[in-house]
């Protein structure tokens, strides 16, 4: 049996998410509650609140609090070329297909601070596809989008990024793409010249362009199944026939209502291809 404390916390959490949605239109009601609760427990500490109810009061009465709360609600931990084998498979298996298109659109959904976007931009540059590609980098968190637009990362993360880049089959040296100063690495701004940064919600917004590739990694795991299905439906409707969808290494379309619309292109790397007859 659940403890009475847990039951009360669940109720408070539910009310907090409802309040955030009603007042600020950010909808976290269909996020997986277990990790959300953990992140909000950290927010309690940050805002010096004793309960989710107190946090709700704070967020409702202090309009500036919501932007400070968003980083706790959305996950912003990523790395460049995370799971190098995924990017290696894109380079070796997917890019040859993409080269057959005269122009390309790529959607990085839930781009957070931009690590995945810059990884793809570097990959596309090295494969000679950059000039015919438009990237769409979207997130609900405008502060994260701004970080993505800046492309500046702490220097202590660069050794991991570099190691990943090499394992992913990088053709140059990662240091060719950034300059350093003040303990930070600033990525070459020409890498984002062909990127449209935009506020977009997988919960409530619609399809906005026709894509050849959608990359959305470690975002779906934060959603309940129905919301996962909504997001996958958006990806399906965005993709051209034979377009590609890449998701996180522990995510799967297996349980999705849209599973029949895709075939496994690289099963191990979780890269799917939309079927041609839909």
């Amino acid at each position: 049996m659940k403890s009475p404390v847990t039951e009360t916390e669940e109720l408070e959490l539910h009310l907090l998410l409802e309040a955030i949605h009603r007042k600020y239109q950010y909808d976290f009601r269909d996020y997986s509650p277990a990790s959300l609760k953990r992140r909000l427990a950290q927010a309690l500490h940050h805002f010096d609140c004793e309960s989710f109810s107190q946090l709700q009061h704070h967020v409702l009465h202090r309009p500036d609090a919501i932007s400070a709360l968003l980083p706790f609600l959305t996950v912003q931990v990523s790395e460049m070329f995370r799971d190098p084998t995924y990017f290696k498979s894109l380079r070796e298996q997917v890019i040859p297909h993409l080269k057959t298109y005269p122009s390309l659109k790529v959607w990085v959904a839930g781009c957070s601070a931009g690590e995945e976007l810059y990884s793809l931009a570097i990959l596309f540059r090295e494969e000679g596809l950059e000039s015919r590609t438009i990237f769409y980098a979207t997130d609900i968190n405008t502060d994260a989008l701004k970080k993505a637009q800046d492309g500046i990362y702490p220097l202590d993360r660069i050794s991991l990024f570099t190691e990943n880049y090499q394992k992913a089959g990088g053709k140059a040296s990662l240091s060719d793409y950034y300059t350093t100063g003040y303990g930070r690495a600033m990525f070459d701004k020409t890498l984002r010249e062909r990127t449209v940064f935009s506020d977009h919600s997988l919960v409530s917004d619609a399809v906005f362009a026709e894509m050849q590739l959608v990359s959305c990694r470690n975002v779906l795991i934060y959603f309940k199944r129905d919301l996962q299905d909504r997001a996958i439906g958006l990806f399906k409707d965005s993709l051209v026939r034979k377009g590609f969808l890449g998701i996180g290494s522990k995510e799967s379309l297996r349980f999705s209502a849209h599973a029949a619309s895709f075939e496994e292109f690289d099963r191990e790397q979780r890269i799917y291809q939309k079927l041609s007859l839909l």
Binding site: M1, S3, V5, T6, A34, K37, R38, S78, K250
Partner: protein, 195 residues
């Protein structure tokens, strides 16, 4: 300690680090075919390696062993391992979730994350077990299990390859029972009969 005095449980969570493989082998290989409780395990493993841990334990256990998948409903009589580089959590509706949230005490997966979410989901029907290890991950998690009214077991520190983790757990959760690995295995078999 008489393990025959333990209250009934509906699920078991186990956390282990340094020396985990040997300790878990004693416990998990003792569970008989047809055992009905779900067992969820976090072992601190390197994030960049393809883990062979499920294959290893499948060869040593009578029960089905698998890597936990996101949004998979928890099934009884199955041993789930957290995948490398992801936290494993239990949702209030007893589905499993994975997360890429930041490491806790340098670990992802972290024992605290599994235990705290499982304590929320199962409350007083959960048994939490902390085994050998060199970190203090799991101490807060076991405390959450106790606070929710669950049963807390800890490997007797003197018998553990890494004493830090069981000691930290006993300190955080003084009502926990310290047992040898054989006694823990015995307790798990007994818990199931209570169900």
């Amino acid at each position: 300690m008489n393990t025959r005095q333990l209250p009934p449980s509906r699920a078991v969570v186990i956390g282990a680090s340094l020396g985990a493989i040997d300790a878990l082998t004693v416990i998990l290989s003792a569970l008989p075919p047809g055992y009905t409780l779900p067992i969820l395990v976090v072992v601190h493993i390197s994030p960049d390696k393809k883990s062979m841990i499920t294959e290893l334990f499948q060869s040593r256990c009578a029960l089905p062993v698998k890597e936990a998948e996101d949004k998979e409903p928890v099934a009884g009589g199955t041993i789930y391992f957290a995948p490398p580089d992801y936290h494993l959590l239990v949702e209030p509706d007893f589905q499993l979730s994975l997360s890429s949230d930041e490491p806790v005490l340098y670990s992802r997966p972290a024992i605290d994350v599994l235990f705290e979410s499982a304590a929320d989901a199962w409350g007083d029907s959960l048994t939490g077990i902390i085994l050998t290890g060199a970190s203090r991950d799991g101490a807060d998690g076991l405390k959450a299990v106790c606070s929710a009214g669950g049963t807390a077991l800890v490997q007797l520190p003197e018998t553990a390859e890494g004493e830090t983790m069981p000691r930290a757990a006993l300190e955080a959760c003084p009502s926990a029972t310290a047992l040898t690995l054989e006694e823990i295995a015995d307790a798990l078999c007994y818990l199931e009969k209570l169900k």
